[in-house]
Structures are given as C-alpha cells and as structure tokens.
C-alpha cells in the first residue's frame, strides 16, 4: 500500500499529510518518525487513512501561532474537514493523542470513534529537563534492542516539538466527560513516560472508554509490540466497544 504525500491548508498552516486506502475515513495524528508502520498499512487495507503532520512537528516550521491545545486541535479538525466530509475514526499517539482528545471534545459531530495510543495528557512522567532526544528515545522503549532499531528525533526537531508540547499544556481531565464517542486508550505496560495510574482516569471519566494494556511494551508500543498494537487498534476500529467479544474459533478438528 503506497501512501501519497499531499498538503492541506488550515488556519494559515500548510499541513502535510499522507493518504492511502479506500472506505470509511481514519484520521491519524502520529508521532514524528512513526508513519508508514504496519499499523498504517493494515488500516489502509480497510479504510481511507489520512496521517497528518501537525504544525510545529516533524519537518514543518516552528509553530508559535497555536497558543493552546484547543487552538491546535481546532486546526487539526479543520485540516481533517478539508480531507473528508464524513465522520471519521480519530487515532492519536502520544502528544497527538492529547490533541485528539481536544478534537473529540470540540468537534463531537466529526469524530465517530477515538483511539488514544500512549496519551500523555494525564499524569505524564516527564523526562528530566536535561534529557536529550536520544535519552527520550531510549526511555520510550521497553527494550533497548528495539530502541536501537529506530532513529531518535534530530536535536532540532526534538527541541521544536518539546517547546510546542511544553507551551501547550492544558488541563483536559475535567473535560474528559464531554467525550461521548466510543473511546479506546492503549498503554504499554512498561511505559516510563506516563504513570500506570493514568489509564484509570480515562476509564473513569470518559463515558464509553475501554482500556487496553499491551504487555512488554513501553511508551512506543508500535516499536516494542507492533503486532499487538495493530491487532488491538484494528479490532477496535472495526468493532468499537464490542471488540471485547471473541470471534476467533477454538475449533481444532471439525
């Protein structure tokens, strides 16, 4: 499956995005460096997938215009609206998940289902201020060998994204009850960048929220346990809260 790189305008930003597949739309707010994974490939087999590069992340220019998470989430929503007129499944990872939360709160009519992968909106365990891109990269994996298979952010991108994330901190916990679409929050059991307690907050505050814990995975679940993340996300995208119902056969010899 080949993803086509394109551009869409929203709030004066020129936002790059990558598109592939046909079917119901899925909008992804990914972490830099984690596009074109097996999760994207698998989703594009069934859905029309848009992966957005948020203003101020990746190779986009420094973003000093977005003054709040709410503002940047509204920008992302406008960009998505420029790509599809249908309601969509919104999948956000890490900082992108925090934006996805705001997007679901502010634009409930657009977001059909919400999937939050390693969201850091609640009880983040921030890396030390002196941490380098390489330090944070290593912290994001449960296993050092997995960190070694992937490249850390460049110091420039890391500085740009850290400044944006640090500046746009906002209290979303009190607003989680305003999310009414089916929601899945996925956490790695070995996540060192988010408290293990955080999952409970999402479950308690979002009315229709499932929690998935991925064994032996750190913050970067797609890097540690890609198949497990894919399986969970694909099932939830397909079945929403009914993904708890087993469909695999136990029949051995008919």
């Amino acid at each position: 499956m080949v993803f086509q790189e394109r551009e869409v305008e929203a709030d004066g930003f020129k936002i790059r995005y990558w598109e592939a597949g046909q079917g119901q739309p899925v909008v992804m707010l990914d972490s830099t460096g984690w596009r074109g994974t097996i999760l994207h490939e698998a989703l594009a087999e069934k859905y029309r997938v848009f992966s957005l590069e948020l203003p101020g992340t990746g190779d986009s220019p420094v973003n000093m215009e977005s003054k709040s998470m709410e503002y940047l989430a509204a920008t992302a929503a406008k960009a998505a609206a420029g790509l599809t007129k249908e309601r969509y499944t919104l999948i956000g990872t890490s900082f992108g998940a925090n934006l996805a939360i705001w997007q679901a709160i502010q634009d409930p009519d657009l977001v059909e289902a919400l999937i939050l992968i390693s969201p850091t909106a609640i009880q983040p365990q921030n890396a030390p201020a002196s941490a380098t891109a390489e330090d944070v990269h290593k912290m994001a994996f449960a296993h050092g060998e997995n960190a070694g298979k992937h490249v850390a952010l460049s110091p420039e991108v890391f500085a740009k994204e850290s400044e944006l994330a640090g500046r746009l901190v906002s209290d979303v916990e009190s607003r989680l009850g305003d999310i009414h679409c089916p929601t899945l929050a996925v956490f790695g059991q070995e996540d060192r960048l988010v408290s293990q307690e955080a999952a409970r907050v999402y479950r308690e505050k979002i009315p229709n929220c499932n929690i998935a814990l991925v064994y032996d995975a750190g913050h970067c679940i797609i890097g540690d346990r890609p198949e497990a993340l894919l399986n969970t996300v694909i099932d939830y995208t397909e079945h929403w809260e009914t993904f708890i119902i087993g469909h695999q056969t136990g029949l051995i010899n008919p």
Binding site: N210, V214, D216, G246
Partner: protein, 367 residues
C-alpha cells in the same frame, strides 16, 4: 523462623504405585481416595495444633502422590478446618493455567480465609509440560507474562483488556478484591535467573525446592542482591525453602528408616519414558530432538527420572541444625516440608508432625 507443612494429600496406598508417570487412574479406588484426603486434612489439623505457621498446597497432576491438581480447591477445604494458620498455595503452575482464572481463585481464597493466603507462582517440572499439552518452549514466557497479568488483575480497579504475547483478554475485571492489599504475599518458585530477577524487581518472595544448601545459597544470594538493586530488602517471609524431611525420636531411628527406604529401592521420582523426557527438555531449550538416536542409544532402560534424597533427616536436634543452616546461609525464613514420604503411613506422619511441633519448632523460634 517459621515452619510450614507441605500438605501433599497423598493417596494412602501410594507405595503400591508402579514407577511411572502419569500413574494410571486404574490404581485409584474412590473409597481409599476419600479416606486419604480425610487423613491428609487430619494431618493439617494436627500441624496447626502443634504450632506450624503455614500449610502449603501445590499443583501437581496425574499422580496419587500429590493428587491436588486444583490446589485452591484443596486449600479452601482445609482452610475451613484450620481457621488460624496461613494457607499457602505454592503454587499454581502458571503456564498450564488461565492467569485470570488463577487471579480469581487467589482473590476468592484470600476472602474465604480472611486474608490468610500466600500465593505462589511456578513454571512446573518438565513432566507437567505434558499436562494440557502446553508447548514446553513457551513455558518460561507464559510464566513471566502470567505473573504480570495476575498482579494486574488483582490490583486494577477498572475493567481492562490485555494484549499479551501468550494471553489476550478483552475484558478483565476480577471479583472479589483480595483482603490483603494490594495483593496477598507472593512467592515465586524458581531457579532461573530471569524469574529470580522478576521476583526481586516486583518485590515478590522467592521459593527454592529440594536443592542442597550450597546451590540454594547461590540462588538466594542472587535474589537478595537483585532486591537490593531494586531498592528493598526481603524479610524472613520472603524466602521459602521446601525440603523433604524424616524426623524420628533419635538420629539412629531416622537413619534406620532411611536405610530401609534405600533397601526397598524406590523408583525414580517422576519417572518418564526417556524419549518423552528428552523431547520435553529439548523443547524447553529450543533444541531439535532426535527421537531415533535416543531410542537406539538407551542403555539405562526406557524409564528415567531423578531420585530425590531426604533434605532433613535425623532426630529433632539434628533436623533443627540442618534447617538452621538454610536459615543462616540462605536467608530462608520459612521452611516448608512434606512429611508424607515413601514408606511412611498416616499414623507415622502424625507422629512426625507431633514430634516436629514439640521438639523442633521451639528451636526454630530461636533464629
């Protein structure tokens, strides 16, 4: 130091069993079986009366020697008779079981005993890899993941889904909650470095079985060092040693019994066909198994298995001294002993329990 009786609940006519594993159920007479469990529970009652601190139960399969395939069932029956003693399930063989089911059993047992439960997690002996047809190569991975899942299931306050390597559960919400918070004490029975380290890092106890004192010390030294690395110091209840015992009024009487046992030439413990034994060990190690090579070169015969010695043998003072060695050199704080040995019938077991309680336990209290 604490004393624990390993309640094996053996079938009373176990000395008539052939030297095989599994033991064919044709050897089980229901009336004898019922009587055997009653005798086993009588032994538990006497142990509590004589001042033992724990009663332990183990999951073992397909044999009348320790016929407690579902240890939680056995433990709950005994817990209703013995109302004060600690009930230790040492333990569940996690690779064989649904970890969520194990969590449910442990939580229920902790409620039924009002917080008297100690839980144990083990991989199991190689023969038990045959039970429920589990792939031996996956045993270690299943144990490690199973422990994580059980601890999460016992502590997580809301339903969650689990995306594991070996287990996938889309809804886990265990009832009841354990009485002991956050979980009952947990003992991990192991000799393997990765599992010892897991116990240390998760502040769990360690159980070692049947090894000589030097080998046990090598394991407990590692455990204690890794606990320190993890920022805590294990207490006496965190290190459990299970060893076989025969205690008599005098050293001479104990030696006489042991001599008789040796002369009767008991078969190996957990005997299996050589092909099956080697195939399991090869699978556990991830090696290719050459079936025909084993059959062709099998001079020792078709059935193999290790004979367990007796760890503690002698009169009360000698046995106390032997146990103290494990305490002093290995940091063992709980000694767990099966009194049901070969050639020791129910009446003799009762005598041993009485003797141990009267003449050994007071000595254990001194260290």
């Amino acid at each position: 130091m604490k004393a624990s009786m390993f309640a094996a609940m053996g079938y009373s006519k176990r000395h008539t069993f052939p030297s095989t594993w599994p033991i064919s159920p044709v050897h089980a007479d229901p009336a004898t079986s019922v009587q055997s469990y009653r005798e086993g529970m009588d032994e538990c009652e006497l142990a509590e009366e004589m001042g033992f601190d724990w009663l332990s139960f183990s999951e073992h399969h397909y044999s009348g020697r320790i016929p407690t395939g579902t240890p939680a069932v056995m433990a709950s029956a005994v817990a209703e008779r013995c109302r004060k003693i600690t009930i230790a399930v040492l333990g569940h063989l996690l690779p064989l079981n649904n970890p969520v089911r194990v969590a449910e059993e442990l939580a229920l047992l902790d409620n039924l005993t009002n917080g008297r439960l100690v839980a144990g997690f083990l991989r199991g002996t190689p023969n038990e890899d045959q039970v429920y047809t589990m792939n031996p190569a996956e045993g270690r991975g299943r144990l490690l993941e199973g422990m994580d899942l059980i601890l999460k299931a016992l502590t997580e306050p809301h339903p969650f889904s689990w995306e594991g390597r070996y287990y996938q559960f889309r809804t886990v919400a265990v009832w009841p909650r354990p009485v002991q918070q956050p979980t009952p004490p947990v003992i991990v029975g192991t000799r393997s470095d990765d599992t010892i380290r897991y116990a240390a890092e998760h502040r769990l106890g360690l159980g070692v079985s049947f090894l000589p004192v030097e080998q046990t010390a090598a394991i407990t030294d590692k455990y204690r060092a890794w606990c320190e690395e993890a920022g805590w110091t294990p207490g006496p209840d965190n290190i459990v040693y299970r060893g076989s015992i025969y205690v008599a009024e005098t050293d001479g009487l104990a030696q006489e019994w042991f001599k008789g046992l040796q002369q009767s030439k008991p078969g190996p413990n957990i005997p299996m066909r050589r092909t099956v034994s080697e195939a399991i060990n090869a699978a556990r190690a991830g090696n290719v198994f050459d079936l025909r090579g084993v059959v062709a070169g099998s001079p020792e015969g078709d059935v193999v298995g290790n004979s367990l010695g007796i760890n503690f043998l002698g009169g009360p003072d000698t046995v106390a001294k032997q146990i103290k060695e494990f305490h002093d050199r290995c940091g063992v704080g709980v000694i767990d002993m099966p009194f049901q040995q070969n050639k020791v019938d129910h009446e003799a077991v009762l005598k041993e329990i009485e003797l141990f309680g009267r003449a050994v336990i007071p000595q254990l209290r001194e260290f």
